[in-house]
Amino acid sequence: MANGGSWSPLAIELSDINKSFGDVHANRNVSLTVVPGHIHGIIGENGAGKSTLVSILYGFYGADSGTIRINGETTTIRNSADAIGKGIGMVHQHFMLVPNFTVLENVMLGREGSLSVETGARKAREALNKLSQDFGLAVDPDMIVEDLPVGLQQRVEILKALFRGAEILILDEPTGVLTPQETEQLFDILRALRKQGVTILLITHKLKEIMAITDDVSVMRGGEMVAHLQTADTSPAELAELMVGRKVLLEVDHTPARPGAPVLDVQDLCLTDAAGIDQLKQISMTLREGEIVGIAGVSGNGQSELLDVLSGIMAPTGGHFTVGTNQITAERPSDPAELRDFGVAHVPEDRHKCGIVLPFSAAESMILGYSGGDEEDGGWWLSPSKLEESCAGRMREFDIRPPIPKLQSANFSGGNQQKIVLAREISTQPKLLLVGQPTRGVDIGAIEFIHKQLIALRNEGCAILLVSVELDEIMSLSDRILVMNNGQIVGELAREDADERALGLMMAGIGAEEKDAGSAKGAAS
């Protein structure tokens, strides 16, 4: 395979990059070489150090040590301006767009060309038109960015980089917010860019994407670079093993479920948000005692909203759901405190923002959601010693380390924080447990523990609704799997019928009646 190394310098050459944040060694002796005109993937789990590495490359962070060579020249990149000057452009995971600016204003920001905006705008508009034609990147330059669908906003980010003369384009987790169709469109754009000689560095944790579009792939794990491979020579299995570090054994001791009486009944549940967008459309389902129902879907297709509504954080705008004998409707909404009384527990998707309060002690986080208290708990008052005592008990039971109830919640590792949440939610012996992303950012040991706990809870007769972006997790834990797309439930599979292919097709909305009409909106011809 020609890598061009003999006649043109490498586009990017990083050697021995180190970067620490406090005690966390985010990048350890990382080296990387990227061939010009290739699409080079960097794959790794959340927290493997991928984002830190590209942030160093783009001048957002300074490396503690190591050297950077761009097109064969050793350089220092102190800030974004330096990176732009070296022909590096970046599409961030969270877009760097001014929401109330037009596309044109966003593209020209920092590259206005002259002191007067008008003169600069004229030139920028011409350049934008040319780029649109060259790469098939059509966007109306006068649209306000916040009115555009996500896919088009990303396109603006790419245009921004190209407008600044980027020859090396970094994309950090670009597909996380995209629908499958938008992802396909993005890949078409990337292929077109490659044809024009642009070097692309694609950061992702999705194996499928690496296999679909990259020429080369580097694997990161725990802040280190563990492998450099040519995509054609590797397989998803090999990459997965490299990412995780050992053979993934996600097989849980999963006995057949014995579903009992219905616990949760959802009928035509709808949610329209403040902006008037339908987040949930006519959701119906039933959960029974002693079963785990998994919800699969690309993130952003209504799963988070479903959890919010079922836990009482948001009120439905149509339809109803029934927990036991209690019916919740738009007219008679509920709140999280009342639903807890009805026997609903909730492990939230965002542990740091919702699940615990970071500055609180573990003992205080251990009663989050249960601080209302009743008479025998001392009425209006709280006793820290009592809280710490009961917290210590749960810490033993769930093997939470370090077992110090007074320790600030922020000082526990991700896995132990998640165990605090789980311990709290399980020990109320709920009838229904809502679980969002139970193992996001959690180490392998804790994953196994958490999975075992969920199965055990099911065996005791609890109904569990599991939302996860990890298909493996969904498939290994669920008794039934529902697939969500665009705010709807588009299909159901029994545990034994579920495989990645079948789920993938359903998640992509293939076969669903409603096509994603939004993605075409705002695109200029």
Binding site: F21, Y58, F60, Y61, N79, S80, A81, D82, A83, I84, G85, M90, H92, M96, L97, V98, P99, N100, F101, E105, N106, M108, L109, G110, R111, E112, S114, L115, S116, V117, E118, G120, K160, R164
Partner: protein, 324 residues
Amino acid sequence: MADLWLQFLLTIDATLRVATPLILCAMAGIFSEKSGVIDISLEGKMLMSAFVAAAVATLTSSALAGMFAAIGVAIMLGLLHGLASITLRGNQVISGLAINILASGLTVTVGIAMFQQGGQTPNLARAERFRPIELPFAEQLGGIPIIGTIYREVISGHNILVWIALGAVLFTAFMLTRTRFGLRLRAVGEKPEALDSAGVSVARTRYLALIIAGILCGMAGAYLSTAHGSGFVREMTAGKGYIALAAMIFGKWQPRGALLACLLFGFLEAVASRLQGVELPLIGQAPVDLILALPYLLTVILLAGFVGKAMPPRAIGEPYIKER
């Protein structure tokens, strides 16, 4: 009838005089708040520059020297605010409040030490003040009904700072919408990381905004003590900085809206001072204090979203942190 007309014109004239420092300060507020820095230190900057303008004008016998010194000191305070809120990422409200209290203490302390007049500066002579500028033929044309009287009473006879204040509104509007700096300024107040990733320094842009705000506040202070008044009196800003802040919010952070709000608030103050001690039919003694409270009440009502919605810049008050 003619008397009523004259009364009306005099009120409008007074409105302009009263509104001038408000306008300058409100424009200063727009610059710093559009850049994402909360600026409740308008009051302190204005107070300090009012003192410095009068003190330097006394010492040098030059109103102009006083004004430049006032601008200098207001810029320094702006930079201090910047150090606290941009570089050290401190709390912007607290920093602004500190500057206000600091100004209260420092003006009186230094004033007493310098002039031994209980915190006041000596009365300024003619040459040490900004004088009214009589426009050509004001007296001759004043005889013409309506237009002539307007020309004589309202348009003519203002000092240069009144005109500068009105010019500052055009300047602010032009800067915000037509220039590169304005584009960056609006971006940094909405989404600083967008500007940063575009290779423009967030801190530099914000400091620049605070410096421009300092210049405008300095002129507002100079106006109070060396144009509108004839010397510094302790606490002479008397909450005008906060009224300017209210006017800026009332004008939804836009130069034109803020100008109109300043004129409205100025008008209320002019009316109130005309009504001082006047018996009104039905009400009796005119409730001057309540009229003076109207700007604050109106601002609260606007902020509560009962009439339209005032949307502040999205990133306001948040220090920009690049590293996590």
